[in-house]
Amino acid sequence: MIDPIFLVEAAVNGIMLGGVLALLALGLNLIFGVLDIVWIAYVDLVMVAMYAVYFLVMVYGWPIWLGGLGGVVVGVALGILVHLLIITPILDSPPVNQLLATGGLLFFLQSIATFLWSTDHKSVRVSLPSIELGGIFVSYPRLIAFVLSILVMVGLYLFLTRTFIGTAIRAVSQDRGAMALMGASPQKIYVVTSAVGGAMAGVAAALLSIQYSVHPYFGAAFGPITFMICVLGGLGNMVGAFIASFVMSEIIAIGGVVWSTEMGYVIAFALFIVMMFARPGGILAKRQ
């Protein structure tokens, strides 16, 4: 029998992980909601931004917060580049091709990272202690990452609800055709959305790089779970994705302690598949 304290610790760690996963899921979901395209390579963009943080901090000696901001800038740049170079030419193609074009990008990023930086794991070393709270150990970097990711999500919420461009983004995700009729330029909205999605990837990269070491296959490790969260929450549904992140991260964290890490993921994916059948529109959708 497993000591309950480990389960509690796993649950707390799950919440921490959920914060960062939510950030990834929201970025991907924003792009999906507006452009109706799943960026299969989304988490690989995060991987590239994590390398940026690593090099800025560990090689060029920037302070960690500045390196993190550098990662965000790289994320924004990548988001815009992906949109202009890959998505724009195939906006009207069948969805399969759009999916596959970003899938090709996934291969490209993985292998160019292997080529340039080898498969060694590289980590940003931050010497921060763990905090003990009634027998539960919580790592300080994870706590920081969690708090910051919540703050960024609040920022995203305010951006989408309180600014003109944010309102326009939400309008496009509801009705693409009507937006053009209202005189807003869809192309501009798309670029801004991709940039915001890229920024989310950059923030996630900064927050992930203080917890995990980066390697070329980082995207393969976090990618599938991010897609699952988006679909589980309802593609394009922000609140749903937020809740789904925590559901999934709890399953992975607790499953990891009770069985093994792989089994945690297996259960999470199996639940995803079952939920797809029970509630195809996501956990918050009303049953038809």
Binding site: I40, V96, L100, F115, Y265, M276
Partner: protein
């Protein structure tokens, strides 16, 4: 059957392929045969995928069927000494069960498009992770080597001679083409195309949506598992990364889309090109630049999907058709 230039060319090409192992190639022979066998097997798997893909059932989890097929046959042989002829049948049955478990609810609850792609992606990952998690008997991420048979290679389906595999691969590939062509001319094709266009409309005119979808999925899964079995028996080693999960699933899809999934030879052209390209890049760059070959491969994929969305073979075929005067429709 009338002799047209295209048919004659096809017959000559087939004869050349069949005679290829007899051509003396000195030391290169084993290598060339190895590459061509891989092309046969992966083309077959690509054809199996395209049976679904061409009707809008884009699966990103065919690695699941590949993994189930390959691992079942290898583990049955290693632990119980069951001949792959029986084990293979069991493996195919198992992958059909997996396909039904996934496809029935998908079809029942109308999961299509992006959602279908992501559900299948999850299935592929579940199989990969299960293989890794059950490391006590699957060998985890290190994979398993097929136990070498002491003798009786036919029973064990193990042959040291690559020529045997060459002809087996050729047979498999032709079988895949036959299935593809057979489906192309059947009623099922019309039904599936209607379903791919609009499920509700198809159901309204009396197409049994669920039945057709399940049939095509089962067929595709069974053939994919067969391909996995052939690959495992040929390579005599299975690994969760090369036979299950998102990586291999995407590779299958890419090769098919590159060639063109709506044409008979599309999957073959795409697979042959990707394998030839990666072999060539590997020879050019060797081990000096690890990752360079794959980098170029990924870049080409993106470029191809943007500029040649119908695939190489599909685009070429369309070009030829445009040049030629439109064929007179046959009066039936």
């Amino acid at each position: 059957m009338t002799v047209t230039p295209a048919r004659a060319a096809g017959a000559v090409l087939l004869a050349l392929i069949a005679l290829a192992p007899l051509v003396p190639m000195a030391g290169m022979k084993q290598y060339v045969l190895h590459v061509v066998i891989q092309i046969f097997v992966w083309s077959f798997i690509g054809q199996a995928w395209s049976l679904m893909g061409r009707f809008g059932l884009v699966s990103l989890g065919h690695g699941a069927f590949l993994g189930v097929g390959a691992y079942a046959v290898v583990l049955l042989w290693n632990f119980y000494g069951l001949t792959p002829w029986v084990g293979g049948a069991a493996a195919i049955a198992l992958s059909v069960v997996v396909a039904l478990v996934v496809a029935y609810p998908c079809s029942r609850f109308g999961i299509i498009g992006h959602y279908f792609a992501l559900v299948t992606l999850a299935v592929g990952e579940v199989v990969r992770l299960l293989i890794i998690a059950e490391r006590d008997w699957t060998g985890g991420s290190l994979g398993v080597t097929l136990k070498a048979a002491s003798d009786a290679s036919l029973v064990a389906m193990q042959y040291a001679d690559k020529r045997v595999w060459y002809y087996a691969g050729l047979g498999l590939w032709l079988f895949g083409l036959w299935v593809w062509a057979r489906l192309d001319r059947s009623m099922a094709r019309a039904a599936m195309e209607a379903i791919g266009e609009d499920e509700t409309a198809a159901a309204c005119v009396g197409v049994r949506v669920t039945r057709f979808k399940l049939r095509i999925t089962v067929l595709s899964a069974a053939l994919t598992a067969l391909g996995g079995i052939a690959y495992a028996q040929y390579i005599t080693y299975v690994n969760p990364e090369t036979l299950a999960g998102i990586g291999v699933s995407l590779r299958i899809v890419f090769a098919v889309v590159l060639g063109g999934m709506y044409s008979l030879l599309g999957p073959t052209v795409g697979t042959a090109l990707t394998i030839a390209l990666s072999e060539w890049l590997r020879i050019v760059f060797g081990v000096k630049f690890i990752g360079m070959a794959e980098t170029i491969y990924g870049l080409l994929l993106v470029i191809f999907i943007i500029f040649l969305p119908a695939g190489i073979y599909g685009s070429l075929a369309a070009l030829v058709r445009r040049r030629r005067p439109a064929p007179v429709p046959a009066t039936a």
